[in-house]
């Protein structure tokens, strides 16, 4: 690790192909700033992404990275972190990737509470497949596959995380660059699974959940005297569908992470040239 790392060191020389104005630019910049601010460098950082616009992030960032299959980014990150706990692991996904095809993995990654960070770029629509409903789309949101709206309530990712035993639950807005970077930084610093749902508007296909909408409706918890360690207060915010919140909503510093629980502290890439010295003991067990 080096204190000389600047956030631009996490930038690759590849020009993003996101649409001009896409919320993902800000989401990614905040992630890079947060990584640099927490003293990480590209050589000890592993970024995992799934499929969709969010999945492209590994190409635009500079670090060790894997761009995997749809919905399975969290399991990949889980394996990376378990096999080498020295690495800073950050998983990025979209609302489809994380709350639809990957919803099962989300629940289990949250309850495993590994010391990693999960950033979801939530634009409430499927962008890369050109505008279909996502699990966080509003009930009446008309799209090419839901001409009268999905007619189902949207998934509440924060509630899902809380119900799964989440130890760090936050929400940010990609356009509020400072706050977003701060919140991701807090997630990284959290000793456990840091989850941040980021409002990351899709300027091409979503004309409802726009920058203006979030600017007008966003309530920053930092200005509200909210105590994130108060579970009841967190529940109340999470279940309040009348407002959009930004900030750290819930934090449990006492939750024991999977790594601590199982004493995972070995870099498993280092192994001897042959079988372990006492390996014949493994055979003798079968006498």
């Amino acid at each position: 690790m080096s204190s000389q790392v600047r956030f631009t060191d996490f930038k690759s020389d590849k020009q993003p192909t996101w649409c001009p104005g896409c919320g993902d630019f800000g989401t990614m910049n905040g992630m890079m700033k947060a990584l640099a601010n927490t003293g990480n460098d590209p050589d000890n950082t592993f970024v995992v992404a799934g499929i969709g616009c969010s999945g492209k992030i590994g190409t635009y960032m500079h670090s060790y990275a894997l761009h995997g299959v749809h919905g399975r980014a969290l399991p990949v990150g889980t394996g990376v972190k378990m096999a080498n706990p020295d690495l800073e692991v950050m998983v990025a996904g979209g609302d489809g990737d994380g709350y639809s095809i990957g919803a099962g993995h989300f629940v289990h990654a949250v309850r495993r509470n590994l010391d990693m960070t999960y950033v979801v770029m939530d634009n409430r629509i499927y962008g890369l497949t050109k505008g279909q409903a996502s699990p966080t789309s509003r009930e009446d949101f008309e799209t090419s596959t839901t001409p009268e709206g999905p007619k189902q309530p949207p998934v509440n990712p924060l509630a899902l995380a809380l119900a799964s035993g989440g130890s760090f639950i936050a929400q940010s807005f990609s356009s509020d660059a400072m706050r977003h970077a701060e919140i991701v930084q807090e997630a990284i610093e959290h000793d456990g699974f840091g989850f941040v749902n980021v409002f990351s508007p899709c300027v091409t296909f979503n004309d409802v959940d726009t920058y203006d909408y979030f600017r007008d409706n966003l309530v920053d918890l930092a200005e509200e005297d909210h105590d994130p360690t108060d579970e009841d207060a967190a529940k109340q915010k999470i279940l309040d569908s009348s407002k959009e919140y930004q900030g750290v909503i819930y934090r449990n510093d006492d939750a024991v992470s999977y790594d601590q629980q199982f004493g995972l502290d070995t870099n498993m890439s280092e192994i001897p040239d042959g079988a372990p010295e006492d390996a014949m003991d493994l055979v003798r067990e079968f006498y």
């Binding site: 050589d43 060790y64 990275a65 990949v76 372990p276 003798r284």
Partner: protein, 586 residues
């Protein structure tokens, strides 16, 4: 008296059949006898019937046969289910004081030994030990020194307290004494002991042991019959070497977690059975395209769908050979015996890392549930070699960077093998992806680069074909013009079948093939033989198909897909019949 002795205990699931069988198998192994076990679940009647069978001999035994000499029957059904394997002189031990066994029917010619198992067990300290009373009775019938049973009981119950061990020993003695006192009969059986030391283990355990020996430090899996034993073996053991086993939420997660660990540099593995392989297929393509070394073990069972989860089949060959969309370079290894499960696992890890490629390690239920004896030297840990392939470090990374200092994880090389930089290596930061990519791992749709990357991944297999030894294992008479070919767990039964055929002056050459892809080129062997018979546990002859494709010649086939593994005597009959059949023509 036959040279080999066959013994079984049968009853309802929950009667402690497995553990009792295991105790006796262990006692025999400790007494220097070879042991080959099988678990039998009747398919004729649905329900909980289960049996544990043990074949034992002073000489090597590698298969099961259709004969039972001593049967401990906890239910009437145990006798009924095994009628066709019982013979004149077979001994049936049962508890006539149990209401359900009061009117037990002992078939003519067989010897029924009515032993009050439950009562004697209660006297020794608890009804739960009734199976051990029966084992004591079996010792008396077979003249087997009961002290050998003591040491197996010690191993089994030692960690639960010495009192329990003593009670069990007493229970065994009471069974022995009861038979000695109540039955004035000269039994035909005499189980000799030797001074040999053997270990007794099954294929799943051998895979787990091979994984640890090979430096596997990470396992992610989801429980499924018959692969779960691999996970259970590794749990608690791999941690002693700094590794970890994680039970994932499903197979999709399991292979992705294993993939993540492999990207972090760990020797990593997952194991499942057919239905799990289906679920893993998408990520299998990602593993191959991102050129991640990963061992994926498929312990096959009867399919398709959930099929017969506790039954034998070798039906996944095509799935492992061709499964996944697009064209995917891979290695497919299929160990042919329990000890080879160990060695092929070691080899699988080396191949995976030398060629940055997923390796399917294909085993099957028959091997997974079979416990077999081996001299400990069969698992000579000093002979385990670990080859990690083209891994770069801080000093050598420069050779694999472009002019901008960017690491090339998918560098186009002559042998098709690209370098690996474990995360943490300075200057090695890079991405990889399931998308087609350039040398840096970045997405591309450039037509030339697409072709170069596809060819590069294929070239690894070509390189491996040249550099590695893909020979089959050879048995029988190498000069014979009657050729038998098989793969997977049929080897042991075939070796014994060949012995039986030799007694009839039928002489064959047998090639047991542990490599499915790449596989040895057997065209010359096939085309120079008069008769070629391919033996496998599936209906369509999946391996016969690929051999015909390779050699451009039709072969005869012996296929078994009733859910039960081949037995040596049955196989000898089938081969005799196949050789007598008219030649197949194209």
């Amino acid at each position: 008296m036959p040279a080999d002795f066959n013994w079984a205990i049968g009853g309802e699931a929950g009667d402690g059949i497995d553990s009792t069988g295991k105790i006796f198998a262990q006692a025999l192994s400790r007494a220097g006898r070879h042991v080959f076990t099988s678990k039998d679940f009747a398919s004729r009647i649905r329900g909980g019937y289960t049996a544990y069978k043990v074949r034992t001999s002073v000489d090597d035994v590698q298969s099961v046969v259709d004969r039972l000499d001593v049967l401990i029957a906890l239910t009437q059904r145990t006798i009924d289910e095994n009628l066709d394997e019982l013979h004149d002189g077979s001994v049936i031990i049962y508890d006539g004081e149990r209401s359900t066994m009061a009117d037990v029917e002992i078939p003519e010619g067989m010897i029924g030994l009515d032993v009050p198992l439950k009562r004697l067990a209660e006297e020794a300290g608890g009804a739960i030990m009734r199976n051990v009373v029966a084992l004591g009775a079996a010792c008396e019938v077979t003249d087997f020194p009961i002290e050998n049973l003591d040491s197996a009981l010690q191993k089994r119950f030692g960690n639960k307290g010495q009192q329990l061990v003593e009670n069990n020993k007493e229970a065994a003695r009471s069974g022995q004494d009861y038979v000695a006192e109540e039955y004035d009969h000269e039994f035909d059986y005499d189980l000799d002991t030797t001074d040999n030391d053997y270990v007794l283990l099954n294929g799943d355990q051998a895979i787990g042991m091979g994984a640890i020996a090979a430096g596997c430090r990470f396992y992610a899996g989801y429980p499924i019959t018959p692969a779960t034993d691999v996970m259970e073996y590794l749990t608690g053991r791999i941690e002693q070497y700094g590794g970890h086993v994680v039970q994932a939420e499903d197979e999709l997660s399991a292979i992705n977690i294993a993939l993540g660990a492999a990207r972090a540099g760990a020797r990593s593995m997952t194991a499942t059975s057919g239905p799990g392989i289906d679920l893993m297929a998408e990520t299998f393509g990602l593993v191959a395209t991102s050129e991640t070394p990963l061992v994926i073990c498929d312990v096959m069972r009867s399919g398709p769908s959930t099929g017969m989860p506790t039954k034998q089949e070798q039906g996944d060959l095509n799935m492992t050979l061709y499964g996944g969309h697009g064209e995917i370079p891979r290695f497919v290894l299929a160990p042919t015996s329990v000890d080879e499960c160990f060695w092929k696992t070691v080899e699988a890890f080396n191949l995976a890392e030398k060629y940055n490629t997923p390796v399917y390690l294909v085993s099957d239920l028959a091997m997974a549930v079979t416990e077999q004896t081996f001299p400990p030297e069969a698992f000579d840990m000093d002979a385990v070699e670990i080859e990690r392939g083209r891994v770069v470090d801080d000093d050598t990374i420069g050779e694999w960077q472009n002019e901008k200092g960017q690491f090339k994880p998918h560098a186009l090389t002559e042998d098709g093998v690209s370098p690996r930089a474990f995360p943490g290596t300075a200057g090695g930061a890079h991405m990889s992806t399931g998308l087609e990519h350039d040398e840096l791992g970045r997405r591309t749709e450039d037509t030339d680069m697409r072709i170069e990357q596809v060819d590069k991944r294929t070239r690894k297999v070509e390189t491996a074909k040249e550099r590695e030894d893909w020979s089959p294992r050879e048995f029988g008479n190498p000069e014979s013009d009657q050729l038998i070919i098989s793969w997977g767990s049929n080897e042991g039964a075939l070796i014994e079948a060949i012995d039986l055929l030799e007694d009839d002056d039928i002489d064959v050459r047998f090639l047991s093939v542990p490599y499915i892809f790449p596989r040895p080129d057997l065209s010359e062997e096939i085309n120079s033989a008069d008769e070629v018979v391919v033996v496998e546990c599936n209906q369509t002859g999946q391996f016969a198909d690929v051999l015909e494709h390779d050699a451009l010649r039709r072969v005869k086939r012996i296929n078994k897909y009733d859910g039960v593994r081949f037995k040596a005597d049955e196989l000898a009959d089938e081969i005799r019949a196949a050789l007598a059949e008219e030649e197949v023509t194209a």
